[in-house]
């Protein structure tokens, strides 16, 4: 009995222990050493990824509160890997901070919240995980204490996420009132799709749309991304968004399974509008972080489109896309982070003629952008292919055609940056930058991920076999 709890909660227990250890270390004022702390965190994160692949039985813990199965564990492994890369790419910035340990604690707490969120089998657990994942993020976004922009980003993040969770709760209370339960299983059997439930569902979907920054609830994204420190921006765009998408699937398929005639049109509408708007805004951005923010918005649209497919296929394609997306987006953010730390600028002008001075960095950025745009040799192509074929398999051809046209449009702005790097003359002279060891690790992992995942079909098959149990 007890072993079952320990094995089901192993990743969460690991993370909690790590956070508490850091807090105790801070309280006892043990001599701080950023590199030692980073090593400790890395060892914990990597071993957590390891134990997430251990054998386990799927099922529920604490009544219906906590769900666990092999797909959820794989999703957690993806989030852990993303956090590990974020620590690597942001370390040069982090170690200069006065409150380094607090930064780590808060970042790990949000990760803990996301782990609880994606294995929730109950709206109460889901809500708590969501809040644990978002409240520390606001503190993290405003971590640059002297930077006006940063505190503004934190303010906007906390206001919009509190607003979103209030709407979500209002929806949950209607669902609770009409079905008499907050657990996904009971809701699934009691729901009949009447108008009150439709209203509640729309409220819940709105809350989700805020989290994954789908249009028309995306207005906070670009501001927060630009103002927050680069490490947090990359974390928000990858790990936080991934967790929200991962939990959206069980909520839709499990709890609202019988309302698929309501949620599928809503999702298709949301995804088409998101893809088109994200593309249009990305075209005219001058700041690299804002540009990547709108690129993230567009990717969220593709993810939403993928979710509309048949359960197993959709689940597999979404998880597979997230796996690739983590490497491609974090690869791009590593380069942005290196350039911003060394030159203090993040406008697109810095990237002009980057190939002449820093060929390695521009090659990595090229790979990452190819993967984000979905150009064949990079893994992103396969990710998008599976997402679209999942939607097409369910027969939503119009949406798939719109999405494909937009993929072609998006080539323009992704390749525009590539052109700037390789063809244009440099605007300012940047000397040859030497990435620190941690940044090199991050660059290396991301490149490997982008290149390798697309060429090993076994990975998709593995995910497909897992997600029979979404």
């Amino acid at each position: 009995m007890t072993e079952q709890y320990f094995s089901g909660l192993r990743i969460e227990l690991f993370l909690t222990m790590l956070i508490l250890a850091l807090l105790v270390g801070k309280v006892l004022a043990i001599k701080q050493n950023p590199i030692g702390t980073l090593t400790l965190i890395s060892v914990f994160l990597i071993s957590s990824i390891g134990i997430s692949f251990m054998q386990n039985e799927s099922g529920y813990l604490f009544g219906t509160m906590f769900r666990t199965n092999s797909t959820i564990l794989f999703e957690k492994a993806i989030l852990l890997a993303g956090t590990f890369i974020v620590f690597m790419l942001g370390f040069e910035w982090m170690k200069k901070q006065k409150h380094f340990l607090e930064f780590c604690m808060l970042l790990l707490s949000t990760l803990l919240g996301m782990c609880f969120m994606i294995s929730s089998g109950n709206f109460l657990m889901f809500f708590l995980g969501l809040e644990l994942a978002t409240i520390p993020l606001a503190a993290l976004a405003s971590f640059d204490l002297d930077e006006k922009k940063s505190s503004e980003a934190g303010m906007k993040l906390i206001l919009s996420s509190a607003f979103a969770s209030a709407i979500l709760l209002f929806g949950i209370s209607f669902i609770y009132g009409t079905t008499g339960s907050v657990s996904f299983d009971t809701i699934a059997s009691a729901i009949d799709g009447n108008n009150v439930q439709k209203f509640g569902f729309i409220c819940i979907l709105t809350g989700f749309a805020f989290k994954i920054s789908a249009v028309p609830f995306h207005f906070w994204t670009a501001d927060v991304y630009e103002g927050a420190p680069v490490a947090i921006t990359s974390y928000l765009s990858v790990v936080s968004k991934g967790a929200a998408i991962f939990v959206l699937m069980p909520v839709l398929y499990h709890a609202f399974g019988r309302m698929s005639s309501t949620y599928i049109p809503a999702l298709i509408l949301l995804s088409t509008v998101t893809i088109i708007t994200g593309n249009l805004f990305a075209l005219r951005q001058k700041s690299m972080k804002r540009f990547l923010a709108f690129s993230t918005v567009t990717q969220a649209g593709y993810l939403l489109l993928g979710i509309t497919g048949n359960n197993t296929e959709a689940g597999a394609s979404v998880v597979y896309f997230m796996l690739i997306y983590i490497f491609s987006n974090l690869g791009a953010f590593t380069v942005v982070s290196i350039l911003q730390n060394r030159t203090g600028r993040d406008d697109i002008g810095v990237y002009k003629g980057l190939y002449k001075t820093n060929p390695t960095l521009s090659m990595v950025l090229l790979l990452a952008l190819f993967s984000l745009a979905g150009i064949p040799p990079a893994a992103g192509f396969f990710g998008k292919l599976f997402l679209l074929s999942s939607a097409a398999g369910a027969g939503y051809y119009v949406a798939v055609i719109i999405a494909s046209v937009n993929m072609v449009v998006s080539l323009y702005y992704y390749l525009n940056i590539v052109k700037m790097m390789f063809v244009d003359e440099p605007e300012i002279t940047i000397e040859k930058l030497k990435p620190a060891v941690t940044e090199q690790i991050s660059l290396f992992i991301c490149c490997c991920g982008i290149l390798v995942i697309g060429f090993i079909p076994a990975i998709y098959e593995y995910i497909y076999n897992l997600s029979a149990a979404i």
């Binding site: 503004e152 906390i158 209370s173 609770y176």
Partner: protein, 108 residues
């Protein structure tokens, strides 16, 4: 007459209408007002609308999870406000104002 009975003397529709009105006032406040503290107050109003609805439904169904949910909402709201107020104080130190319109370094 115990508390449950007293609560049930008012039909459930009235609770739903009241909390919907509260929620609408909250949403309007968030969208219309530009002062960060007033926006927080409006968000609290929205949360309280959800809380009221949960309590009413839970009493009518004689089912406790709804009320447990309410406890957690209260605690989470407090945590949210704590972080939000800390950020407001930080902004105040930087720019001497808490009007959201002053926060235009980044376009809203």
């Amino acid at each position: 007459m115990d508390a449950t009975q007293i609560i049930k003397t008012i039909p459930i529709e009235h609770y739903v209408i009241l909390s919907t009105i509260l929620f609408a006032i909250g949403v309007t406040g968030v969208l219309m007002r530009r002062n960060a503290i007033i926006i927080f107050m409006s968000i609290e109003l929205m949360l309280n609308a959800a809380t009221l609805l949960l309590t009413a439904f839970s009493t009518y169904r004689s089912d406790t999870p709804g009320q447990v949910f309410v406890f957690f909402i209260m605690v989470v709201a407090a945590a949210e406000v704590a972080v939000g107020l800390a950020i407001i104080v930080m902004i105040y130190r930087n720019i001497k104002s808490i009007d959201i319109n002053v926060l235009n370094k980044l376009k809203w």
